[in-house]
């Protein structure tokens, strides 16, 4: 068992199984089913590995795999910090 997504504990086996089950052709789609790339690391750990898996399974060049768009905030922010609430860290 190889864990690819450390935020959601998604394994290589699950990724391959999901690609086959739903006939997935893009990483944007895989992301939406398995949550890969949407955890605390925002895909910094898992996305390059998933691109390599997808490229192998789909027989596509890694350049032809859509890279998911990053979302703000770049790093997690406490909700209280958006409004200067000092109690947020207590």
């Amino acid at each position: 068992m190889k864990i690819v997504c450390r935020c959601y504990d998604i394994t290589e086996e699950e990724i391959i199984e999901t690609i086959k089950k739903y006939n997935i052709t893009s990483l944007e789609e895989l992301k939406r089913i398995l949550n890969v790339g949407m955890g605390e690391c925002q895909g910094r750990t898992c996305i390059p590995i998933i691109i390599s898996i997808m490229s192998r399974i789909l027989g596509k060049s890694p350049d032809d795999i859509e890279v998911p768009k990053p979302r703000p905030p770049a790093f997690t922010v406490r909700l209280g910090d958006f409004i200067g609430d000092e109690d947020a860290h207590k």
């Binding site: 006939n23 939406r32 703000p72 997690t76 406490r78 909700l79 209280g80 609430d85």
Partner: protein
Amino acid sequence: MLISNEKYDVIIIGAGSIGLMTAYHFLKMGGKSVIVLEKGYLGCGSTGRCGGGIREQWGSPENIILAKKSIDIWEKLPKELEDDLEFHQGGYLILAFSEEEAETLKQNVHLQHKFGINSKILTPEEAKEIVPILNTSEIVLATYNKRDAKASPFRTLFALKRKIEEMGGKILTHTEVIGFKVKGKEVKEVITTRGSLKTNLVVNATGAWSKIIGKMLGENLPVEPYRHEIMVTERLAHLFDPMVISFSKGIYFQQMPRGEIIGGIGNPEEKPGFFIQPTSWFPYHFAKTLIEIAPALRHVRMLRHWIGYYEVTPDAKPIIDYSEVINNVIHATGFSGHGFMVSPMVGKIVAEMLLGKSPSIDIEPYSIRRFREGRIVRETGVVG
């Protein structure tokens, strides 16, 4: 890959929840030849960006009927599609923060009861029993309906895709419609970025983009895209079950099966248009309002923040109608931010229309004509 010379009974434009539910019901009712065209990947439109809430607590008969009948279908859908849609009936809790708002919610509940919905009026204390993190100091009353629900928009789309393909339907992603070949008052061919397809019937299920498709057909649909922002937090232990919403504050939030809190707030200043950037207005106002309602959440970290579109009509109610200029086109659009929740029933109605059956509910209230004739009563129960 180019396509050409293929012919289908039905071409559905848009593979969001409305388009795919239509294709699914069409095949289920015995329809044979259908293809769904999607300009991007599956889930790139509004369904893949929405909060996943499903409620029958509405303020107008049109939305109550669609939502109630949709929940009837939602309840059976995971079994029918043989997949986990993360469908869960944890209820909706709607909060009133003034006497005036309390009165509106009471009237809504009264109306809902006429349609057989078991919504209840709760005291702030009763509401806190259901959602213990609530700050009740400003709450006048709440309404609650246990049958209201949530589901995963992504899982729903992909489960539908799998079933549609199993039943012989086709879904073509990354294929954008760029025009139509019209003869007389009928579409003969749909022209895409990958070639043309012949067809007998066309469904416009393109949501925020439906006005653009309408324009290609020479029709001016009263549907405008509005950017709405939404966010998700880190995962937490289970805190509460229902979707919590407030119409006056424009906020909604719920906890997902994995523990994240997902929620959004509407910006009353937002103008129509395709604005793809998230704003700095959103995190500030969302955090401020959420912390007023549920102070403990000040400690929770926001993970991601993104945008999606509400396709809004002048009365915030849907359009489910035949085109007024082209005979073989049906529009199913204008859901004004609430398409996902009503998609099962809308899909069923449109499939009935495609198969020449009479729709199982009266579709007159969803006509395009109502705007021209000035029969507009605005839905008050829109949030986000």
